[in-house]
Symmetry: C2
DNA sequence: GTTCGTGCAAACGGTTTGCAACAAT
DNA sequence: ATTGTTGCAAACCGTTTGCACGAAC
């Protein structure tokens, strides 16, 4: 994983402390944080960071394709650093969102739909995470 | 399809004109209306109906299992009278949501996931609706 | 000195809630 | 009389926007 500083430089935006803090956290975590969770984390290293700046930076990363937004649980947007195709599993109990590798699930029949030209798809699963 | 009046009676709630109007529209349409679209329709036969009453009635039908809410396009909730398992296709151009029959698409591998006990799933497809 | 980025606060849009009037029982 | 339902308006919550101050080039 390239350093956040370099990523921001590559985007041609000023690598300010706030942006570095947002990028470092959101691009490295395997979780699917909400904007407020990002804000809380960023404030630990950059206490003056504002909600607006966090949203601005997240939207910037989304626009540049380094991040995906999803609205998997009602209302709140979550940010997903995994930009490769994958599926999602939502834990009924905790609401936690987990990535499911693309090849772990097979989907058939989308090409045979008469009415729809499917360009992309994902499987959204719900259930209980197993404790192993 | 049972009459809206009887459905409401079965739920044990008073079948008021507003509730009948909401139930009649939302349970019969094949579309996936937002709350505001329901309100607009309901106002045609029941001009005094308020937004709050529409929301209350929709939530009531959802709680009773006659209706599903989904947040497939960011921000707005849509109400889906199809309570049987099915998939969804979202038109990239119009944002329209279409139901895809359960058997039209096959999904494999969910039972073999080690970490997750999948209790339910759906495929969310995006693309362009074909004009035939 | 012009541009870009920040923090704050206000605005926004969809949804929920508090409440007083009112209908049903 | 008690309970349930309505419409209105205000509150709410996540997100976006306007703006004046400050930093970077």
């Amino acid at each position: 994983m390239k350093a956040a500083l370099d990523l921001l430089r590559d985007l041609g935006v000023q690598p300010t402390p706030q942006r570095i803090a947002v990028a470092r956290f959101v691009l490295r975590t395997g979780r699917h944080p909400t904007a407020d969770e990002v804000l809380a984390h960023v404030r630990r290293t950059c206490p003056t960071a504002s909600r607006a700046t966090v949203y601005n930076t997240l939207n910037l990363l989304v626009d540049r394709g380094l991040l995906r937004v999803q609205v998997l649980r009602g209302g709140r947007a979550v940010y997903d650093a995994n930009t490769e195709r994958h599926h999602h599993f939502i834990d009924e109990r905790t609401g936690a969102i987990h990535d499911v590798p693309w090849h772990a699930v097979t989907v058939g029949g989308t090409a045979a739909l008469d009415d729809f030209e499917v360009r992309d798809y994902q499987v959204v699963m719900r259930g209980r995470k197993r404790k192993h």
